[in-house]
Amino acid sequence: MAMAVDERERELRVIEVRESVFASNDRAADELRAANREDGLFLLNLMSSPGSGKTTLLTRVIERLQPETTIGVMEADIDSDVDARAIDEVGAVAVQLHTGGMCHLDAGMTRRGLEELRAAAEDAGLSLDLAVLENVGNLVCPAEFDTGATKNVAILSVPEGDDKPLKYPLMFQVVDAVVVNKMDVAPYFDFSLEQAEKNVHLRHPGIPLFPVCAKTGDGVDAFCDWLRDQMKLDA
């Protein structure tokens, strides 16, 4: 009995909140998108599994776009700076973002990374046209958090299998294009480009797929043409 009285005396109060956990990130992402547009900066968010070739693809893209476009890259990793050094070698501005154990980047972290990248570019006397966010290698969490990117692209590499869009539906639903990498090893795997396209389009009808081999550069031109068009459309 005494317990019950104590419970009543605690003056428990319930406050209604009714807020979506993702709502505040979505707002921050929209603000970042609007600010970048104003500044004429195109932000590309590149997502994929670990080891699918994000950094290799990026170096090929940078080689092709660099003459006309000033490019900066934010490398997001839980730890290490091996990717940032690889990008630095092809002559683009790179900063390494450590997520401190988190498996994704959100809009706030992206905004802060972008400030760092801009400062690094200014130090080199450059003004950025294109910033690329190389997200943490993971097909689940990065899809859930809008980073504020102008466009989102996923890489699907041949050894992962053509069924990945079925297993990780949200990733393929949120992206604007899919790069199919490591096409050179396709004969050794049970990978059908046609099936991959079908599976991607089940999640997101009509988006383009670009079969490439980032190692040799085969097919990368078509992806760069698409990227140039997207940048023009956003300008």
Partner: protein, 114 residues
């Protein structure tokens, strides 16, 4: 790791509400968790305990959640149906033009404070 990111958002949002209402301590946070969020309940509780106990406002606070079923809506015939196990193909008209209409979010419903 994914769960921890969501937990950080909850702590931020709850802290904001608590400050606006002059609340000193939160005893319980009640959520609705969508079936298609990929949140694993055990990991979620573990991440919550770890992060909440590092704050004065939420030390010892309970996290309770109600699951919200994932629902797809067919854009061709308008049917709403459970997303699992039917998947993206509409069980009524067979169209693949379906969207996830519910169950992809985490909502903070209320907080209990003393």
């Amino acid at each position: 790791m994914h769960e921890l990111g969501v937990v950080f958002y909850i702590i931020d949002a709850v802290t904001e509400t608590a400050e606006a209402n002059g609340v000193g301590h939160v005893d319980r946070v009640s959520l609705e968790v969508g079936e298609a969020t990929g949140i694993v309940p055990d990991l979620f509780q573990e991440a919550w305990r770890w992060a909440a106990d590092r704050t004065d406002l939420l030390r010892g606070a309970a996290l309770s959640s109600v699951s919200v079923p994932a629902m797809n809506r067919c854009r061709a015939c308008g049917l709403e149906y459970p997303a699992f196990p039917a998947g993206p193909t509409c069980p009524s008209c067979g169209s693949g033009d379906t969207v996830l209409a519910a169950g992809d979010d985490v909502t903070i419903v209320s907080i209990e404070v003393t």
